[in-house]
């Protein structure tokens, strides 16, 4: 198998033009799908026979929590790709992704606290999933802090890749150690193998919201990467041409 296609991604310029057409449509369609999913979930889906209307926060909570974990997986893989193949775009991706993942973890924590207050009667319980999400949030903040403290771009890129990779190796261990430590939270809403325990009228809007979140985040990341590429390559002639032709975005 030829790896030539992979090396194309190493060129920020090539990546900029390749992703140019994708970012905005993805962002807009993600936003639309998300709004559809949220309105469907918040206004039309049936309420839970036990938890009543408070269950509707699931349409925000579950997608954010899934995204928080997926973003970290992507960060770790990008860290590996950046370290092994020395692809510049991977570092740009980590730069763009880390704050988004942190925001997702934060949304999951806040909505989880609000939901917990109505369902369990407490804003916070020391349950495995809550705790591991908090640790995940702190891991994101660590990556962001490291990137912001290191002045030299090449060093900051490599350091962020290293810590993302270590986080990827350790995340399952952290997660399972916390699970053994304490478990109160309900099981995962979606698994690949089982049918969901909720009726279709509830999980369908949830699925739509999840897809909307994913597409939105992909669009957002591409967008952030493009601005980062323009900034990093600001001394090159193609960026100067680009900016003089289209103006500043």
């Amino acid at each position: 198998m030829s790896w030539a296609w992979l090396h194309k991604f190493g060129s920020p310029k090539w990546f900029f033009y390749w992703s140019y057409a994708w970012a905005r449509p993805l962002f807009v369609s993600g936003l639309l799908v998300l709004v559809v999913g949220l309105i469907w979930g918040l206004a039309f889906a049936p309420e839970d026979y036990q938890q009543g209307n408070s269950v509707r926060i699931i349409y925000l909570h579950v997608p954010a929590a899934m995204l928080a974990q997926s973003c970290y997986l992507a960060l770790g893989i990008a860290g590996l790709v950046g370290l092994v193949w020395r692809i510049k775009t991977a570092a740009i991706f980590i730069n763009a992704m880390a704050p988004i993942g942190a925001v997702m973890a934060f949304i999951a924590l806040v909505t989880g606290a609000i939901w917990g207050k109505t369902a369990w009667g407490a804003w916070w319980v020391w349950d495995a999933r809550l705790t591991s999400m908090l640790v995940l949030f702190l891991l994101y903040m660590g990556i962001i802090a490291l990137q912001n403290s290191l002045e030299e771009v090449a060093l900051a890129d490599k350091s962020a890749a290293v810590i993302s990779l270590v986080g990827l190796i350790n995340l399952p261990i952290i997660k399972y150690s916390v699970v053994w430590w304490n478990t109160l939270h309900q099981g995962a809403t979606f698994t690949l193998t089982d049918k969901p325990a909720m009726p279709a009228s509830m999980w369908l809007p949830l699925l739509v919201a999840v897809i909307g979140f994913y597409v939105l985040v992909v669009g957002l990341v591409l967008w952030r990467m493009q601005s980062d590429i323009l900034w990093r390559e600001r001394r090159t002639s193609w960026v100067k041409q680009e900016v003089t032709k289209h103006g500043v975005y």
């Binding site: 370290l83 640790v135 702190l138 891991l139 903040m141 660590g142 802090a145 490291l146 403290s149 290191l150 030299e152 090449a154 060093l155 490599k158 350091s159 290293v162 810590i163 990779l165 270590v166 986080g167 190796i169 350790n170 261990i173 952290i174 150690s177 916390v178 053994w180 430590w181």
Partner: protein
Amino acid sequence: MTYTSFMRAQYAVLWRSKQDVLNALLFFVIVVTLFPLGIDPSPAFLTPAAGGIVWCATVLALLMAIEGVFKEDYRDGSMEQWVVSGLSLSLLVLIKVMLQWGAVVLPLLVMTPLLGQMLFLPNDDLGVLMLTLLLGTPSIFLMGALGAALTVSLKQGAMLVMLLILPFYVPVIIFATSGLQAAQAGLPYSGFLAMLLAMSLLSLVVSPFLSAIAIKASVN
């Protein structure tokens, strides 16, 4: 430079900066003292909490000790010599961290029975606590060294190392304190010790290798 000369030099450096090691140990004692003062000095609270208190204090003290482990080498240029020496940088990092581990953890282990008495830890459980410290602290040191390597070029990196590395200590603290709680409840605890050893071995695989990458990027 050879591995033995490197080891001898690092040993001499450690011996001449013994105040740093002493500071870490004193910090450990002070953190342990804060818990009875701040929460409850009665044996009813302290006996079940002793393992957690000792472990939290250990983690903080060791992180303080390891956080600046490469700073001096970076500043005086000896780190560049490591990179150009042709020796394996990962191995050099490992030697340095292990020497540091011996210098800090062995005295800490000697002090643990005393602190166990102060925290009303039953004598039967003391051995388990010391075993968890012996098996878990290599992971604490190795991961801390990775944080130190990542932030070596920063003037003030202590807080950043804490933020970066403390999340990775969650499993170690959980396995160590769960093991001690199991021992106190009369349950088998060997599984927790095995997990601690596994964590240390995993850190042994990951940390020197990635620390070397971080050091190389910092020196350039």
